[in-house]
């Protein structure tokens, strides 16, 4: 019941999440910084869409809190955004799994946009808005990375 696939245990999920957390603070050249996709959101989406029995909303929430601690932002900010997109993703997962790659990418684009929009909104409410248009670039880059990353995940994380 706990394991949807024989190869995908908690150890691998934790390793993939930690890798995503590290990738989201890895030092990059300044011009590349705004282009960095939200790796943790992509990991949560992949796990929710493709192995929902193992990781649920609580996992998404925990990953979000860890990301908040890593980036030193308001505690709960990424947690809220990730819980919301994980909820939508698990509602849509049966349809999305049957989608061709391009359509899947479009769904991921919408979910990543929702994630970024919630973060943008919380930034505004908390009194330090970032109105730079480049913050939305990470959404596009993240969606563009989806086919590649989901292939990588399927090979590395969910390998039997």
């Amino acid at each position: 019941m706990m394991r949807a696939r024989p190869g995908l245990g908690w150890g691998r999920v934790a390793a993939a999440t930690l890798a995503a957390l590290l990738a989201s603070v890895l030092p990059l050249p300044a011009w590349l910084g705004p282009l960095r996709p939200d790796f943790v959101a992509l990991t949560v989406l992949w796990l929710t869409l493709l192995s929902p029995r193992l990781t649920g909303l609580v996992f998404a929430w925990g990953a979000g809190l860890a990301l908040d601690a890593f980036k030193g932002v308001l505690l709960g900010q990424h947690a809220l955004a990730l819980v919301v997109i994980a909820y939508v993703a698990s509602k849509l997962r049966l349809q999305v799994r049957a989608f061709p790659p391009l359509q899947q990418t479009a769904v991921v684009l919408a979910l990543l946009w929702l994630n970024e929009f919630i973060l943008f909104w919380i930034d505004g409410v908390a009194g330090h808005p970032v109105t730079d248009w480049r913050r939305w670039l990470s959404v596009l880059v993240g969606a563009a990375c989806w086919p590649l990353l989901s292939g990588l995940f399927a090979r590395v994380v969910a390998r039997r």
């Binding site: 930690l18 957390l21 590290l22 603070v25 890895l26 030092p27 990059l28 300044a30 910084g33 705004p34 960095r36 929902p52 029995r53 649920g56 909303l57 609580v58 929430w61 979000g64 809190l65 860890a66 908040d68 601690a69 890593f70 980036k71 030193g72 932002v73 308001l74 505690l75 709960g76 900010q77 947690a79 809220l80 819980v83 919301v84 909820y87 698990s90 509602k91 919380i122 908390a126 330090h128 970032v130 730079d132 480049r134 913050r135």
Partner: protein, 282 residues
Amino acid sequence: MGGPALGLRLIVLALASAGLMVADHRQHHLAKVRDWASAAVYPFQWAVQAPVQAWAAMRESFATRAEIEAANVRLAADNLVLRLKLMRFESLEQENQRLRTARESTARVVERTLIAEIVRVDLDPFRQRVLVNKGTRDGVFRGQAALDANGIFGQVTRAGPVSAEIMAITDPEHAIPVQVNRTGARTIALGTGRSGLLSLPYLPQNSDVEEGDLLVSSGLGGVYPPGYPVGKISSVVRDPSQPLLAVEAVPLAALDRDPEVLLAWFDNAVVEPEPGPAEPQP
């Protein structure tokens, strides 16, 4: 995993996040949790930049002889200039001390500094914040001033047990009270979110500022020690239809290239009153 249970979980977790955010933002109730979280993630933050730093260290140790010789010549020249300045500085400091004793006021100079290494992690590309490897265990506190060899760097916004977050003077949320060194005019320099740019939006049209003027900290507000260099004015746009000038400045501290910063302790308890006009004699 049924539908209603999922919805319920969403609501519970969303409310928990909202509660956390409010507690963290409004009341600062989560100081302990924050400390704990920052200490827990610090080893990972350190580990992620370790290869980058190791690469830099390797390049340094394999630097060619010619490069090192060139650097040596440059440093020797710098040293000569600095020594020359220091010769006058010592006598001036003495004189300043005498004058201050005569006026019974203390100089608010930096008394103690601590070198903190910058941990090269990207916290947010749109904010100018860095993580350093010193925390409350070394006596770092929130609101402490950070300097580098060329000028004021920023202030500590969050101090955990082993690490601290410093907001650079160019962060969009940062403002520093400054003084134009040439004229003594006081104003405020705001961060812009870009690492090489400060903006001074509160100077009236008739104020005397020129390109190349040095800005020093005025010490108002008590966060920064007074008299330390902040930036150089890079452009002054006089548009007569606007009530205020559009002035931009370049920070002097090497905000995006520094490997380390100096955290400063100074006596900020005394805020010197301005000498007022002489009391009229009855």
